[in-house]
Amino acid sequence: MIELKNIDKYIESRFQRIFILKGVNLSIQEGEFITLMGPSGAGKSTLLNILGLLDEDYAGEYFFGERNILNMKEKERSNLHKSEFGYIFQAYHLIDELTVYENIETPLLYRNVSSAERKSIIAELLDRFKMVAKKDLFPAQLSGGQQQLVGIARAIAGRPRVLLADEPTGNLHSGQAKEIMEVFKELHAEGTTIIQATHARENADYGTRLINLVDGRIESDERI
């Protein structure tokens, strides 16, 4: 499904190039649940951003399906981005001014989903994550775990095939973290491709494949 070929990402400084990613080759099949691990600064987030089309400033080739991303037009890339990817952040990144309901609704608005359809999708998600009673609350009124659930609901509202999660449990205590990971497992079982970056080894056990990154290189890549 996704094919990265010889990806380099670097920053030009005055005397040398500092590589964040170097010679990364990666092939991801539909339905995999991949965990990226590695120390801080290993390039986990950068790799996620490149996979999620948020960062286009790199060398190498990126194929999504049969198509080379770099050869796509801006509009096509943007459509691909909208239709295929969902994002979950360590700091939840909900919009403070919007209610739970409206946060989940936002990506649907940008996808021009009709009003009736939006309502049914959001109702289903609220029900699934048991947040119906909280739909009119603002993010600040929720606990961290609840906020991240909203974050996940928002990420999957658009029915993406690929879910990208950057340290999704980094700000949560273990009980909440476990709950989130169970949700991931469920989503994976339903067929969603998931790629998560994490520091916590125990999270990797929910996945099917573990990739270790060190200094911008893939050090190991194993099936679990």
């Binding site: 943007s78 001014e97 936002t106 021009n112």
Partner: protein, 800 residues
């Protein structure tokens, strides 16, 4: 989608109360100014466009050439409209208006005794055919067809008779003569250049039945048929002049030409052409228009600056939305909708404010602000266009900046002070440039006004009052003068043709002898007491004496008229003051005039004009004003004493004293208005700019709270912190100041060009203006930095 945009916009505006408040208030003030000025400009612009086919109506003016000097006058002879009607097929209608108020007021008795009325004119029977004002009562064609018929306006009818229907058929006395009221017409609209209460039939006038080619005292108007070539019409009038005036022109060596002025151009046209109502200089309309645009620009800039400054705060939101699939256009829509909501809100508040302020604004602009106009389709269209334009201009740049942020950088908060810092800096420079520039202009306008009011005019106008008297009383004037002085409430009394502040009568001077070059001279008919009453300084010769006057009264062909000239007249003839004494010249009809004395030049017109040649001659019979010098002490007491004597000696004419110095100040009404308007505008501009500055400083202070706290921990005082925050802004204001000085120099030159006698502007206006704006800016910054400085560093640093 739009519902969502609106919801988010509302919540954002609610959350940032300070910014929303500043923007709302700023835009409201700017919009109120803009709408009020627009209404004023529209009013001035709409003058005389209410008559049907106004494009075909023209006022007839006259160019008078004699000895290479030409003079434009706004009046023409009484024969003109009749001749045009009879001999010119292209003339559809022609009418005459004789404005008596330029000569004197009339006394009207509508049953309750004599009252002085000033807005009185005579018109011929074609008046309503050219100017289709509404006739509320009376029969067209029978209004002015005979002498002693009179039409009043609705307001006058209400005032004198209680209502319109009561008025028709009533007989009133005008200066003792009986007139029948034949009709009531609508009030003259405020945007008509005509404004009268009474319109009498011109048939009453001695030239009414017997029109003449001289004098040229009448306002004449024509309505030309459709498709008439105006240039051809004017050259046809030239042939008419040749036919009727050709012989006179040859004999007296003058030339006259009539030309047309479109009726809609009268109000804003050449100010030297006389017209019924004082006009408005187009220059002022342009200045006001520019100022209106500048004020709204400052309001918009406040929004732009605050919105881009707070872009940093909204990085995260923008980044998230992009990650969730928002494209640039969708984000742009969201941010622009915020500025539209704000503009719309400000517009609604503005309309309320204008509604409440309307009575005060009327006084300021001297014109009624038509709120109905705002409710008309044109007005609503204007308001909608204004809101759209302001909303778009305010929202465009910040929305582009915000929607253009890259999501990863935005989420990582890696952007420093929001994009476009140099744009914001230039905008701040522009705002303060405008504020300082307007303030300097205000001081320049005021300096010239003060100069004109306080300059030594060359005569004494303190404690000098003028009272006009009727023609019939002139023979008793010597007695009346003596009685007034005997009462102790008058020190000196003199008869004069006019107040010395603005002497109007024009004469022709023939120096005679070998000096053949004639020239125009202003004539002042007075009595022997004038020189002493207004303290004119004689530099040579002496005042008129009784024996001089006796010689001028001889009617045997040897009469000799004593005159006193000013220095300008003497210079014109190439003499010095001493050698002029005793010479004979011809002044108008006074063929044998003896120069008795020379007075030092004094200003007998507004200071817009140079002091021209002036001849003072003894002719009390031609005078109509008493100039009375009252003693020190309570003026109202003296005046009531004088009024008591007056009532006994001049029955039928109320004692209406005018203080000459306040009448003099009234010559500068238009400058006074400009000064008031400039003061207001510059105040608004400064207020708006300071509000914007306050917002920006608040933003900077917030961003630098941590830095300031660290400095405080390290021992910085309040003043150090102020310096840290102020220095960047002071640099910008410095640039503004330099630009404003350049503008001020240009403005001073441009403004003073309109005055023959100019004040020295000096550096004071510049220093005061720039100093004032700097001080206010430092106070604004100081207030904000003090609030930050007072924060407890322990708390602010902990939160990091």
């Amino acid at each position: 989608m739009w519902k969502n945009y609106l919801k988010i916009s509302f919540r954002n505006l609610q959350k940032r109360k300070l910014y929303t408040g500043i923007n709302l208030l700023g835009l409201t003030i700017a919009l109120v100014s803009f709408i009020a000025i627009s209404l004023y400009i529209h009013h001035e612009w709409s003058y005389d466009r209410m008559y049907s086919d106004y494009e075909r109506i023209y006022k007839l003016n006259q160019e008078f050439t004699s000895e290479g000097q030409n003079q434009l006058v706004g009046t023409s002879p009484s024969s003109l409209p009749i001749t045009l009607r009879e001999e010119f097929p292209e003339v559809e209608k022609a009418t005459l208006v004789f404005d008596l108020s330029i000569f004197s007021s009339v006394m009207i008795d509508a049953g309750a005794g004599n009252q002085e009325e000033k807005r009185y004119a005579m018109v011929d029977e074609n008046f309503l055919d050219v100017f289709d004002f509404q006739l509320l009562a009376g029969q067209k064609g029978k209004l002015w067809d005979e002498p002693n018929k009179l039409v009043v306006t609705e307001e006058t009818a209400d005032r004198l008779f209680g209502n319109v229907s009561n008025a028709v058929g009533k007989v009133i006395k005008v200066d003792g003569q009986e007139f029948e009221i034949t009709g009531v017409m609508q009030n003259f609209p405020s945007n008509s250049h005509m404004d009268f209460d009474f319109l009498a039939s011109f048939q009453t006038h001695r030239h009414g039945k017997n029109p003449q080619w001289s004098p040229s005292n009448y306002y004449n108007y024509v309505k030309l048929r459709e498709g008439t070539d105006v240039v051809a019409f004017e050259s046809k009038m030239a042939q008419m002049v040749e036919k009727y005036l050709g012989a006179d022109q040859k004999e007296y060596g003058f030339q006259t030409a009539f030309y047309t002025q479109p009726i809609a151009a009268v109000h804003t046209g050449d100010p030297t052409l006389n017209r019924i109502k004082p006009g408005t200089d187009l220059k002022y309309l342009y200045i006001f228009g520019v100022v209106a645009i500048l004020l709204i620009a400052i309001g918009i800039i406040n929004y732009v600056n605050l919105a881009t400054a707070e872009a940093t705060e909204r990085n995260k939101e923008v980044g998230l939305r992009k990650v969730m699939g928002a494209d640039r256009f969708q984000l742009f829509g969201q941010f622009v909708s915020e500025s539209f909501i704000l503009t719309l809100g400000a517009l609604l508040v503005s309309l309320l404010v204008i509604y409440l302020l309307a009575p005060f604004l009327v006084n300021l602009g001297q014109v009624p602000l038509s709120l109905d106009l705002l409710a008309s389709p044109l007005g609503i269209g204007f308001l909608i266009a204004l809101a759209l334009l302001v909303g778009l201009l305010a929202g465009l740049y910040p929305s582009l900046i915000l929607s253009g942020m890259e999501p990863i950088k935005a989420l990582g908060n890696k952007i420093k002070m929001g994009g476009g810092a140099w744009v914001r800096k230039s905008l701040v420079v522009f705002q303060f440039f405008v504020s300082m520039g307007l303030l300097i202009s205000t001081f320049v306008v005021k300096a010239q006004l003060d100069f004109m009011k306080e300059v030594n005019l060359g005569y004494s106008k303190e404690r000098l009052v003028a009272v006009s008297y009727p023609y019939e009383s002139r023979s008793q004037m010597p007695t009346i003068k003596a009685e007034l002085i005997r009462s102790g409430a008058a020190i000196q009394v003199a008869q004069a043709g006019d107040m010395p502040i603005h002497i109007k009568a024009g004469y022709k001077m023939f120096p005679g002898g070998d000096n053949q070059s004639e020239f125009m001279i202003t004539g002042y008919s007075v009595d022997t007491d004038l020189i002493n009453t207004i303290d004119l300084e004689l530099v040579a010769g002496e005042n008129f004496s009784e024996s001089d006057i006796k010689r001028s009264d001889l009617e045997d062909g040897t009469e000799e008229f004593p005159i006193i000239l000013n220095e300008a007249a003497i210079r014109q003839m190439g003499w010095n003051s001493e050698e002029a004494i005793g010479k004979h010249v011809n002044l108008g009809y006074m063929q044998n005039s003896l120069i008795k004395g020379v007075v030092k030049d004094f200003y007998f017109n507004s200071l817009h004009h140079e002091v021209g040649p002036l001849a003072i001659f003894n002719d009390p019979a031609d005078a109509s004003v008493l100039l009375i010098k009252i003693p020190e002490g309570d003026p109202s007491k003296h005046l009531s004493t004088l009024a008591g004597i007056w009532a006994k000696l001049v029955p039928g004419r109320p004692f209406n004293p005018v203080f000459v110095d306040s009448a003099y100040n009234n010559l500068y009404q238009s400058e006074q208005n400009s000064s008031a308007v400039f003061t207001l505008f510059s105040g608004i501009a400064i207020l708006l700019a300071l509000m914007g500055l306050f917002g920006l400083v608040s933003y900077v202070a917030l961003r630098r709270t941590r830095e300031i706290s660290i400095r405080k921990v390290l021992g910085a005082t309040g003043r150090d912190v102020l310096g840290v925050l102020a220095i960047d802004f002071m640099k910008l204001l410095g640039v503004s100041a330099i630009l404003a000085i350049g503008f001020g120099l240009w403005f001073a030159q441009m403004w003073l060009k309109g005055f023959a006698n100019q004040t020295e502007v000096g550096v004071t206006p510049f220093l005061i203006s720039i100093g004032l704006v700097f001080t206010l800016a430092i106070l604004t910054i100081g207030y904000r930095s003090w609030k930050v400085f007072r924060l407890n560093p322990a708390k602010t640093l902990k939160s990091e």
